[in-house]
Symmetry: D2
Subunit: 471 residues, 4 copies
Amino acid sequence: MQFDRIIKNGTIVTASDTYIADLGIKDGKIAAIADALTGADDIVDATGLYVMPGGIDSHVHIDQPSGDGIVMADDFESGTRSAAIGGNTSILAFCMQEKGDSLRHSLDVYHAKADGNCHIDVAFHLIVTDPTPSVLGQELPALVEDGYTSFKVFMTYENLRLRDDEILDTLDAARNTGALVLVHCENEDAIRFLIGQHEAAGEFSAKSHATTRPIAAEREATHRALSLAEIVDTPIVIVHVSNQQAMEEIERARVRGSKVVGETCPQYLMLTADDLDQDELEGAKFVCSPPPRDKESQDACWDGLERGVFDLFSSDHCPFRFNDPEGKLNEKGKKSFRWIPNGIPGVATRLPILFSEGVQKGRIDLNRFVALTATNHAKLYGMYPQKGTIAIGSDADLALWDPNKNVTITNDILQQGCDYSPYEGLEVKGWPVHTIVRGKTVVKDGKVTGQKGDGKYLPRQKSNLVTSKPV
Amino acid sequence: MQFDRIIKNGTIVTASDTYIADLGIKDGKIAAIADALTGADDIVDATGLYVMPGGIDSHVHIDQPSGDGIVMADDFESGTRSAAIGGNTSILAFCMQEKGDSLRHSLDVYHAKADGNCHIDVAFHLIVTDPTPSVLGQELPALVEDGYTSFKVFMTYENLRLRDDEILDTLDAARNTGALVLVHCENEDAIRFLIGQHEAAGEFSAKSHATTRPIAAEREATHRALSLAEIVDTPIVIVHVSNQQAMEEIERARVRGSKVVGETCPQYLMLTADDLDQDELEGAKFVCSPPPRDKESQDACWDGLERGVFDLFSSDHCPFRFNDPEGKLNEKGKKSFRWIPNGIPGVATRLPILFSEGVQKGRIDLNRFVALTATNHAKLYGMYPQKGTIAIGSDADLALWDPNKNVTITNDILQQGCDYSPYEGLEVKGWPVHTIVRGKTVVKDGKVTGQKGDGKYLPRQKSNLVTSKPV
Amino acid sequence: MQFDRIIKNGTIVTASDTYIADLGIKDGKIAAIADALTGADDIVDATGLYVMPGGIDSHVHIDQPSGDGIVMADDFESGTRSAAIGGNTSILAFCMQEKGDSLRHSLDVYHAKADGNCHIDVAFHLIVTDPTPSVLGQELPALVEDGYTSFKVFMTYENLRLRDDEILDTLDAARNTGALVLVHCENEDAIRFLIGQHEAAGEFSAKSHATTRPIAAEREATHRALSLAEIVDTPIVIVHVSNQQAMEEIERARVRGSKVVGETCPQYLMLTADDLDQDELEGAKFVCSPPPRDKESQDACWDGLERGVFDLFSSDHCPFRFNDPEGKLNEKGKKSFRWIPNGIPGVATRLPILFSEGVQKGRIDLNRFVALTATNHAKLYGMYPQKGTIAIGSDADLALWDPNKNVTITNDILQQGCDYSPYEGLEVKGWPVHTIVRGKTVVKDGKVTGQKGDGKYLPRQKSNLVTSKPV
Amino acid sequence: MQFDRIIKNGTIVTASDTYIADLGIKDGKIAAIADALTGADDIVDATGLYVMPGGIDSHVHIDQPSGDGIVMADDFESGTRSAAIGGNTSILAFCMQEKGDSLRHSLDVYHAKADGNCHIDVAFHLIVTDPTPSVLGQELPALVEDGYTSFKVFMTYENLRLRDDEILDTLDAARNTGALVLVHCENEDAIRFLIGQHEAAGEFSAKSHATTRPIAAEREATHRALSLAEIVDTPIVIVHVSNQQAMEEIERARVRGSKVVGETCPQYLMLTADDLDQDELEGAKFVCSPPPRDKESQDACWDGLERGVFDLFSSDHCPFRFNDPEGKLNEKGKKSFRWIPNGIPGVATRLPILFSEGVQKGRIDLNRFVALTATNHAKLYGMYPQKGTIAIGSDADLALWDPNKNVTITNDILQQGCDYSPYEGLEVKGWPVHTIVRGKTVVKDGKVTGQKGDGKYLPRQKSNLVTSKPV
Ligand SMILES: [Zn+2]
Ligand SMILES: [Zn+2]
Ligand SMILES: [Zn+2]
Ligand SMILES: [Zn+2]
Ligand SMILES: [Zn+2]
Ligand SMILES: [Zn+2]
Ligand SMILES: [Zn+2]
Ligand SMILES: [Zn+2]
């Protein structure tokens, strides 16, 4: 056989298997796996490295409108570059409908931002903020057919949140079209109420971001979202779960017979509300929603990754520059936590953190690492078997990991638009030294070797959760 | 000692004790309990009877506006008369604020309806439908001081439901004034959604009332109400709980440390959704919200009465005439379940049903019967020790029960405004043969011996749940 | 009316009611309660005092054989004297069968110890250690008829523990005779295993008593006891519950439909395993089984008293002198935790601790205090209505409490045989200033005013849990 | 490349992936997987077939002593033949220690039975019935080193059950040697007690087998086993779980942080206690322990397979002939359920049942089928990556499935020693048409093409549950 490229002698890891073999790539796809392959000029020596499916980060915000004068720190070029640095080969970004706009128009805007600018492959979730009858009844069915097979709704944020009737209608549209709905679960009214109390008490610092968004507000919304989905009878994804109580809601729903997917993120494993409670304005760096909780919640989230409460581990990358009038420390943000943009960067650090803290410390094994970071995302969001695994016929999207490479995370190595990382100074063991998209190396040893435009837009199939079973 | 009246030789029952004694009444109050009393001309022989605190029904709708051309079947005269027939000596009726009205005005209207017309004592819960800042900030504090110490909010019914922000503000007002909030927990949007589906499918019969208000909608709202109360940090009452899943929410909230009181009603012990699914329009007789569920839910509710999930057993008396253009079978109600007025009568049957099905069948003992039907209501709603028990100094509000009297329930013996009873034909063992309000017999052997005006309006203290503990 | 004695103007408290009245006593029984009584020479002024049912402590070990050379610190004279000091008017002591002995013989021995020596009334639970066919089939039925209607079995202690088959047979005998079984739930084999590990590791100090009897061992045995009772279909009492996990087992069993009573004790509210971990041999003072746990378990036990997981609050008084070769610091006990006698004194401190820490701090109200310390014990163990309440015809067993009396607990005021109290130095607010047994004052202001022999042996009815319901 | 054999154009299925490819076998191992392979004379056309890892049945009883005059229906020849018919390529059989025997001796006996007689590969779990210090301290460590890395203990059966102290010691030996313990969880004493009650009531028919082994007895033992393992701090496998309550115990243990593996079997999906309740002696065919339960339990077990409560799906093949004096209907067995040998055949039907009822009916997908029937067994029991997957370097143990082949199960096609199948007449869709052991076809289209001796003994590594994690 002839190959374009052979990855020699690596330890191949999939969501179920780990074994040493050669891997042959042809036309950007995996063509052969064998104990010994020949027949290519381009040979990558992977001795001592893990050859894993490239990471798929299915929860990434890029270049998303964020209110008056606030600008996200990443455009598609920088965002996908940083993702590639961190071992990812695909991302799922959000395309947010602005109220009054059609979804089609919103997609036009995002495609214009993304097309030709990406280092790795990109697909879009829709964020539905204006679920009019025409949006739900006409646009969505057509868009699902076109490969936009998932959408997110918000139960918080003043201009994004949907009321229960709107959520029901959106879930119903998903059910009818075979799409999948992601839900951001926090009770906006409860948060507003607590913000009012804090403001009345003269509490404006960043730590109030955490106390105004308590676990009860997340648990409430989680149970409500699950109940609405139960009533409509359609599966849902509960994104960025931060604590034990919300996890219990997911487990209870499963026992009731619902199909539910849970996601957690690095911030809920590595940060706590104490990080928001720092001198000066440093706490603003850690403002995201739901907020990081406490040590006990971190343990719960680890436990959820191990026990299968969570099937997805994503970054919820949502970057704002810190010391910047268009970022965290905008004029109003300096004065009150209420105006600090919500979100933290993380697309580059997601995989090394889980590898180092999870795999190296014995909490999860390599196969679960692959499932949580790539395979499950691909299967859930209609990208499998093209993406998310190492199998004959799949895209040759690979990350080669050196398990013994020690790296201290600093913002400058992440090559992102943001001016800080919440994990600055964290020491990790294990690093993706080689990122390959459809057979082409886009990052090697921390250097970008591809160029923008290497990444393509990726239309998607329906989720394996909503399609009938495989036989 | 001299008494106005002596009840001789009865078996006195309180929420904790059962013993044979004589009971002396003076000035409408209980003045002495002893193995043998003399010193009164008026002697009631209670040999073989239980002398119990008269029932307090804390959940009664009377003469409440019910929409276009629909009229409740009871005014205060007939409602309190029927209550007395059924062994009650006090009721707590709802005074509903109509949108735009002040609470004070609403109270004026209800006092005008009630004052001078009642056979037994009456107090009012407020129903808050329009929680404006002036209602919450000015009216409520004054009214709580005046003895209106509890109010109900609705999470369902198009014109009554409050949004979460309104519920939070109302709970906060309750917390600040030391009042107690009752919550009707059903998710209106979910119900609307299901009604839409049923109507689209051409399903209009009464049984659809049950399928459009599923357990999930009640469970969701219950958890939400509990979560909002947890965030505000104030106790609440979950009224008319119909099933196991909602009960679990109450128990989970208690484990989290919340103060929650649960209430169930006879319809959830005795009726099922099958009662709504009958030929002709018969099912309309059983339309109430939440709807009766199934046998398993009945068992759960019994279990909740036994295990202490519930502290209150009320009627949720909400009477509409059946064969009446102003009642169940109004023009629109004949055509669709959606227009059948919600509610069933029950103020007269609550106590005999619980006595016969609960006490006589060994599910609960006599003391628990008294607690569930009288003492707990009095303590919870600020009427204790004046009402709800047999103790020195308390009002001589008594019901004398003949435990061996067999009665077949028919509507005509209930003396209510309604033209039917949902329990028509039910045979019960045990009946209140003598109802005494502040020392005066108002019903004897099924005959009214008092007159309207015997019952007084009863201002209330704060709930024992919100006042500091007694020492 | 003529009375032997009138308690004037006190605040009478029962398990459900609180009110000011006079109380008339005749022939040792309560003859009248009224707003004003006259007709007695002997008048006790109770103004400002709570007149409560005297405490019933249903879990007391006195003069029980405790192994080689170890002697309990109390005989019936000192044990009942100390109980009276602490506001009790009855105790239920254990009569332990020694292997090979008949139960009848064991009772003869205990009656010889108790009869004529008690300051307050006494009844016996049997401890069954040798459940032979003749014991279960012949002795027990006769003894239950004679008024010994409850017995305890042990799942721990080398010479006392029963195997599962023996527990099943004993439960079955209880079912057949209408008796009630109390179970001490700890897995002996697990404890033995852990003791072996500790000894192998050279760990012999008192703190190892706690680590060798972990929560898992108690939870396991609790679930097992509940399961065996479920299989036999008979109610049981889980005594001295120390933690949340065991409480959950009780609640789960109730949800499954079992009749279960839970008991906790002062040591699980006030002590922790840290008390065992002290310099010198001080830790020995706190060695009891199950061992005290941690702050979180204390909170759970308080919660269980409030929420109704527990119906009984007992002392598990099991006194050994500390600095005594026949007590805690016997020769072997000085060398290894394994030989420190298990048990701590507490019959005198149970009520003041619950009053001060529970009632005064607002955790429970006065009525629940009475239920937990007297009424429930009487009802559960077949002593009601003779004992445990204030009602016409009941024994005039009373404790008059001064809620404002501040007392620092020291061993010398407790008048017990033990040379220490685990609560030495604890400051409590509220104290029983007057203890009255069947109308006679046996303790007043901390001084014994009666004499041994005032207390009588008390045969018992069957438990209200096993008799058919009251109507 | 040169191969001994190529499987062409099949749909390869692993625990995570499904894709079409050719598969090249060399020296009994998988040497290459590619879109197109050439270079072998022996080509198997797998077009339209699923190429799956051969089944591993890790719970099989063969030729095990079963008491007086009772003989198991399969020896290693017939048992492994039938297994191969049903798509299996390895089994884990039990080697039972007889009391007084050394484990080494027991193994000698079993090796003599198995060696040279097997059609597929075989390894052994040890059944420890006599855990003496020398067995646990000396034999086990050596045997674990030799590749016998798992053992089973029984909590039921009069001659097999271990007491809690013996289970603790055995778990401790497992912990010290890195072995894994499987536990059969039923409370023997409870069963004995119920058998006594049934016999006393004259109930002897097969249906009493189910009523004497109730869910409570299984739940109790399950919680106990989990608690003992928690105390020793070592992972365990709960085998043949039959119902929701036992499943909950597993889930609770996981939430507590324990490592637990759950197994269920076809009988708990397909049979109920009603199958035991048949005329004549037919019910004896379905006597196994735990007994089949009810429809609700079946649903729970399916749910457990879907939700991940169970990681293993095994047969618990334990065959006795029906109409045979050495089988079910032995002389005593005809007279009382107590003497009917416990166990049913199932090694041949396990996979077709799960494929047809699980995969074809959309309950689980193909990848989960592979995980539940092969991969998880291999990983858990130290046979991975040699066994249980399709990966380069793994043994070429394969089953080729025709998903469209309809088969009616009858005992004669199963080629087993037993004279009946409990699933006689069941129609399944999907059948393993080709079974390949280390590259050699041993069964093709229902015909044995290999011979005894094709199967080898398989020493095992330690479980992935007990070894440190892979990196
Ligand atoms: Zn979000
Ligand atoms: Zn997000
Ligand atoms: Zn209502
Ligand atoms: Zn109502
Ligand atoms: Zn004990
Ligand atoms: Zn004790
Ligand atoms: Zn077994
Ligand atoms: Zn088995």
